[in-house]
Subunit: 238 residues, 2 copies
DNA sequence: CAGTGTGAACCTTTTCACAGCA
DNA sequence: TGCTGTGAAAAGGTTCACACTG
């Protein structure tokens, strides 16, 4: 159910999924370190900045190659370059946002995208009241124009910020327009053909997960109060 | 680094983390099914609606108890009740949002929270230009008032929607105000004392991960074009 | 000799496959 | 008979601990 290994002539190009998920975190931490004037960082220092442990950092980075120096650590600037290259951030990416509601507008205005090499190249919606309006300095286009916009701006990634009910339909149209990577903010599970990547971010889901652990903490506290011997809980996550 | 098992007198109260992460997805799917008039669902049907496979559904649900009927499936309404109970959603939760910028405002207006039992009870910021303003029908308070707001509204969960630079400071103040669950939208890694749960949602990170796989698809396509025998890739995620 | 890079051990999660029940 | 619930196997991820090197 997950990417199979390819076979390349030299080295092993397949990086574990868990590692890929952490590379952006390392990158952020490294950029912060660089801005603070740090030249070299040890796995332990990077680990602290990224909120993981040092063994994980070393193992993760070893998948990219041998970019550290034994006895010294990693050169921050060089490692930034390597991580960026690995993530495919040496090029700029154009994205389209579908659904110009609350969330869609907030995302359109979000500076963090541009700062990290993602250009919001198109906004689309189906609501005639919104089409033609300006949001974040851009004209909102009709969803019908998506194929043309994708071609024109070389859009590779689509952001789904529509209501749940519209999500699958809009996803289908994104795929038909040639988009093969979708970031789904709608609470619906969408299905896409093989070869198309989807990541789902569901805000309410995150709160529900926190609620679960919060509830459990309350239950444990209750038990403790009643004198049962209960193991301690550490619940920092992600 | 993860919750340790407790020991309770009957049954095993510890549900795997991976399962907890999926329960909200099942819940959403179940509610959709119920609204569509479905009375009973098989693990395979629920699996499809949730975007996973049926073995996972059965294993996950088995952690909650034996709520299915062999030969039949699961009663949708009953299962909804059980999942909601397990997640701690039989009670309402009050949340506070810190940082009333783009994202903070979008979150304040987000209907999905209320629909799933989360009440935005307080908005706080440090910007005097924002304090006193009305957002989503609520008055924005100063961050200084957080402890009082937490007490007054019984706030259990804090949502961090501040700029990166302020994130750690605001998180510290949330913890001091008595909040023990934080949903972090800032791109910074925050550290909290044991017993406080944090989940991080980083929008740019998600795009970077998609960029990685998108780049890899391009590379594979390139190799294929050159005639190398390359295994096929299926990259649907989460 | 400090700190990387990495086999090996360990733990978690997923998948398989089927016994057992309605 | 048709499904759930679950041991057992497989895969994936994390941590340990140390050989190795700049």
């Amino acid at each position: 159910m997950r990417p199979r290994r390819s076979h390349s002539s030299r080295g092993d190009r397949s990086i574990p999924e868990a590692t890929v998920d952490r590379l952006p975190v390392y990158l952020r931490a490294l950029v912060d370190l660089a801005e603070a004037g740090t030249i070299t960082v040890r796995s332990e220092g990077l680990a602290e900045a990224a909120g993981v442990n040092s063994a994980k950092v070393r193992k993760d980075l070893s998948h990219l190659g041998s970019y550290g120096t034994r006895g010294k650590g990693y050169d921050v600037a060089y490692l930034i370059h390597q991580v960026r290259r690995e993530l495919g951030l040496t090029q700029h990416w154009s994205i389209a946002i579908a659904g110009v509601g609350n969330l869609g507008q907030a995302l359109s205005n979000y500076q963090g995208f541009a700062e990290r090499g993602f250009r919001v190249a198109a906004l689309v919606d189906v609501d005639d009241a919104k089409v033609g309006e300006r949001v974040a300095g851009m004209v909102v286009h009709h969803l019908d124009d998506l194929p043309e916009l994708v071609r024109e701006h070389g859009i590779a990634i689509g952001v789904l910020a529509t209501p749940q009910a519209a999500a699958q339909e809009v996803a289908d149209r994104m795929v038909r327009a040639g988009i093969r990577s979708i970031l789904n903010f709608a609470s619906a599970v969408i299905s896409v053909p093989p070869g198309v990547s989807v990541r789902k971010v569901d805000l309410a889901t995150e709160l529900q997960i926190l609620a679960f652990y919060e509830q459990r903490k309350a239950t444990l506290a209750e038990l403790k109060r009643r004198g049962s011997a209960v193991a301690d809980v550490a619940t920092s996550r992600s």
